[in-house]
């Protein structure tokens, strides 16, 4: 007897198939069987979608750090995917800077085994470009792809040399997967801890200029052009980088890019806020100045930015409760992304809900060649149900992530996640209390 679930009511937004309207969704054995108006329930269980809510293809975060193996005090595959589904994400791609670095098939297999045990979000490992991400020797990308890696990156640091990046692009291009680069010129970054500008100067913090990022973006765009391969720019933050990506796209280079919610929400001015030197405002790339945030918002609206990805970077409270320049870079993002996108992008009129779904589901799937990003009949039933009007107060203490390092604690935002379905299974359902 088939296991059937009817998702009934709400507005179904499926940009990949040009569908937007009052459609129901019939799921059978974890697969979308039918999309149509007023489908009969017959013997199916019924999931009543609250009025005004959006039924979307499952959201996909292509930039998270699950920290396992090696840093389980920050996060595990289980806690990270619990955080993901609570945030509306049915799939995540996890970066290889674990301990040891994910540069071998055995580690990829271990992560996939942990993900299968957790049975929450789908997990797509990203392998290291170079052994140990040291920038010296290519990792076995072919073996890694066969084991399940969907892309390659030395995230946390840039692909070290132009030659290595060229070879990685050629080789990954042969395998049909992208290279993701953490763009940063190491000599210009130096031991910087904050965006180079007025506020770093006022607070006496060593600066990282925006061009430390954009110089590397320009290198990568040129190398993608040379090789014809696909480069994806991680966590873009500087206006100069956006210009480089835009110029590359205009001449047909295979370059895509992502922006993290904190970079379209906050600026470096926050460092000088009521709580000075708050290490939950320390991430890399750093919070940049207002002109950069405006550029990110423009790029998100005009299509230059392909993807919103969180760069979910959990760190233990002990690690963050130190001097600013000694604290690790990064903040958690999985459970704050949807409210920030609704509140700062949709409700401000910068983007439509359809564009929001493109940025969080359709494009992430396309960029990484992942299944998902669609509600087509016959595809796995990964579905996220969103309420644009839901009042949400972020409470760091209530996050599902093992870590609490968010600068958004106490923020009240409008728009949240009602429910998350992975393979037709409800893996997260908001209680009324949880979002009040």
């Amino acid at each position: 007897m088939a296991n059937r679930l009817l998702v009934k009511g709400g507005r179904l937004v499926d940009p990949a198939n040009g569908v937007d309207g009052a459609f129901d969704l019939l799921i059978e054995d974890g697969v979308i069987r039918r999309v149509g108006r007023d489908l009969p329930a017959s013997d199916a269980a019924v999931f009543e979608v609250p009025a005004g809510c959006i039924v979307a293809p499952g959201l996909i975060d292509i930039h998270v750090h699950l920290r396992e193996p090696g840093q389980e005090h920050k996060e595990t595959v289980a806690t990270g995917t619990a955080s993901a589904v609570a945030g509306g994400f049915t799939a995540v791609a996890c970066m290889p800077n674990t301990e040891p670095v994910n540069d071998h098939a055995g580690i990829t297999e271990f992560i996939l085994k942990k993900a299968a045990e957790a049975r929450l979000a789908r997990v797509y490992p990203i392998g290291a470009v170079s052994l140990g991400s040291r920038g010296e020797q290519l990792a076995e990308l072919g073996e890694q792809k066969a084991a399940g890696c969907v892309a390659f990156s030395d995230d946390g640091r840039p692909v070290a040399t132009a030659l290595l990046m060229r070879r990685a692009l050629e080789y990954a291009g042969m395998l049909g997967v992208p290279v993701i680069d953490h763009c940063e010129d190491p000599s210009l970054k130096g031991d910087g801890v904050a965006h180079e500008g007025l506020f770093a100067s006022v607070l006496g913090l060593r600066g990282i200029p925006g061009v430390a990022e954009s110089l590397m973006v320009e290198r990568d765009v040129s190398l993608a052009e040379l090789t014809g391969a696909h480069v994806h720019i991680a966590h873009m933050s500087a206006r100069q980088s956006l210009r480089a990506v835009r110029a590359g796209k205009e001449r047909g280079v295979r370059v895509t890019c992502e922006v993290a919610p904190h970079h379209f929400t906050l600026t470096d001015e926050a460092l000088d806020g009521p709580v000075k030197y708050d290490t939950n405002l320390k991430m890399n790339p750093p919070l940049r100045e207002a002109a950069d945030r405006e550029a990110m918002l423009d790029g998100i609206a005009d299509g230059t930015v392909d993807v919103i990805a969180t760069d979910h970077a959990p760190h233990h409270a002990d690690e963050k409760m130190v001097e600013f320049d000694r604290a690790p870079f990064g903040i958690v993002g999985l459970e704050t992304a949807v409210p920030l996108v609704f509140d700062r992008l949709v409700h401000t009129g910068r983007i439509t809900i359809r564009r929001m779904i493109e940025l969080l589901s359709v494009n992430p799937a396309r960029v990484m060649n992942l299944p998902g990003g669609t509600l087509a009949e016959g595809t796995p039933a990964d579905v996220t149900i969103l309420d644009p009007a839901m009042p949400v107060t972020i409470r760091a203490a209530e996050l599902r992530s093992r870590s609490r390092n968010t600068p958004f604690d106490g923020w009240t935002l409008r728009g949240g996640v009602v429910s998350t379905l992975v393979g037709g299974r409800v893996v997260h359902a908001a209680t009324r209390e949880s979002h009040r």
């Binding site: 180079e196 007025l198 506020f199 770093a200 006496g204 709580v275 409760m321 001097e323 600013f324």
Partner: protein, 331 residues
């Protein structure tokens, strides 16, 4: 806790000094002070300076109070100055330097300070290499925190003693042309002085090589130039900053020789300044690097006076913060 009650009991009576107080129970930087508070500290320091001229240089003001000097960076003059200030106020003092602290054993700053706090000190005077370290303590700890220099951020008591010294010579701060020359980017002395002098209405000119100007400096306020001659022209005060020779390795300047030829303060250059110019330096000096010995030891030099005044200014700060605590205020 019982310490609170005993603190109140032993609090000094306002007595012969001004009754006004500071708004914060910490001194984290000049940035938190208004002109009235700066004036209060400088006026209080005048009274404290007199104590240093007596044969018995000691008053009972902080008797029974415990002050910990916690220095995570090497320092001779600032630490000594605080220690003498504390002793002249009869505080019980303890100085800890990095080499002998638990920091070398991998303990975090907060754990180190909380361990000290378990022994109930009243104030912690801290020097630390990380900008914002005292702000972390002020947020997480009970003691009153005095910033004795944090990273590249602030060194508030240095700026206060500089202002005290200028006022002693010029009778005022407002309207004076003050040139600050040197490694502006890495200097906490510069930041505290710029904020203080601008708050008090001075005309501040900042000067250094283009590589050592903090980004966004124009928005700090004050005038900006890379010509020392322009900065010194008609100046009432010339304040030289220490240049660290290691900076050469960050490509900030090519050589000490070239630095001195472009930015060193020589008697010839000083002739452009006002006739009664005073020359200041927070120390330690690099003779022949940022300043010519003929200037450092010349008639306009007040460099040793700055050191003497440091004690009086630090006595004033400790006294005012202790009084602030005595009122039981929380801020």
């Amino acid at each position: 806790m019982s310490t609170t009650a005993s603190r109140r009991q032993d609090a000094p009576s306002a007595g012969d000094l001004a009754p006004a107080s500071l708004r914060s129970r910490h001194l984290l930087g000049i940035a938190g002070l208004d002109a009235g508070e700066i004036t209060l500290i400088l006026d209080t320091a005048e009274a404290m300076k007199e104590i240093g001229t007596r044969s018995v240089k000691k008053v009972p003001t902080l008797r029974g109070r415990t002050v910990v000097n916690l220095f995570f960076e090497p320092s001779t003059r600032t630490r000594t100055s605080f220690e003498i200030a504390e002793k002249r106020l009869s505080a019980d003092t303890l100085s800890i330097a990095t080499a002998t602290s638990s920091v070398t054993k991998g303990e975090s700053l907060l754990d180190t300070v909380r361990t000290l706090e378990a022994m109930a000190p009243d104030m912690i005077v801290m020097r630390h290499a990380s900008s914002g370290a005292p702000h972390l303590l002020a947020r997480m700890c009970r003691s009153a925190i005095v910033n004795a220099g944090d990273g590249m951020h602030e060194h508030p008591t240095q700026a206060l003693l500089d202002a005290f010294t200028i006022r002693a010579h010029k009778g005022r701060l407002a309207g004076l042309k003050v040139a600050i020359v040197g490694d502006l980017m890495h200097s906490r002395v510069f930041r505290s002085n710029l904020i203080l002098l601008r708050t008090m209405g001075a005309d501040v000119w900042t000067c250094g090589p283009a590589t050592l100007l903090p980004p966004g400096l124009a928005q700090f306020g004050g005038r900006l130039t890379t010509s020392i001659d322009e900065a010194v022209e008609g100046a009432d005060v010339v304040m030289m900053l220490r240049i660290q020779q290691e900076r050469m390795h960050g490509h900030f300047f090519p050589s000490v020789r070239e630095y001195f030829s472009l930015f060193g303060l020589t008697p010839e250059r000083l002739r452009r300044a006002a006739g009664d110019v005073i020359v200041m330096h927070p120390g330690p000096m690099n003779r022949g690097v940022e300043i010519d010995s003929a200037v450092a030891d010349g008639p306009g030099s007040v460099i040793l006076e700055q050191v003497s005044n440091g004690v009086a200014v630090r006595m004033a700060v400790l006294y005012l913060l202790a009084g602030r605590e005595g009122q039981g205020g929380e801020a």
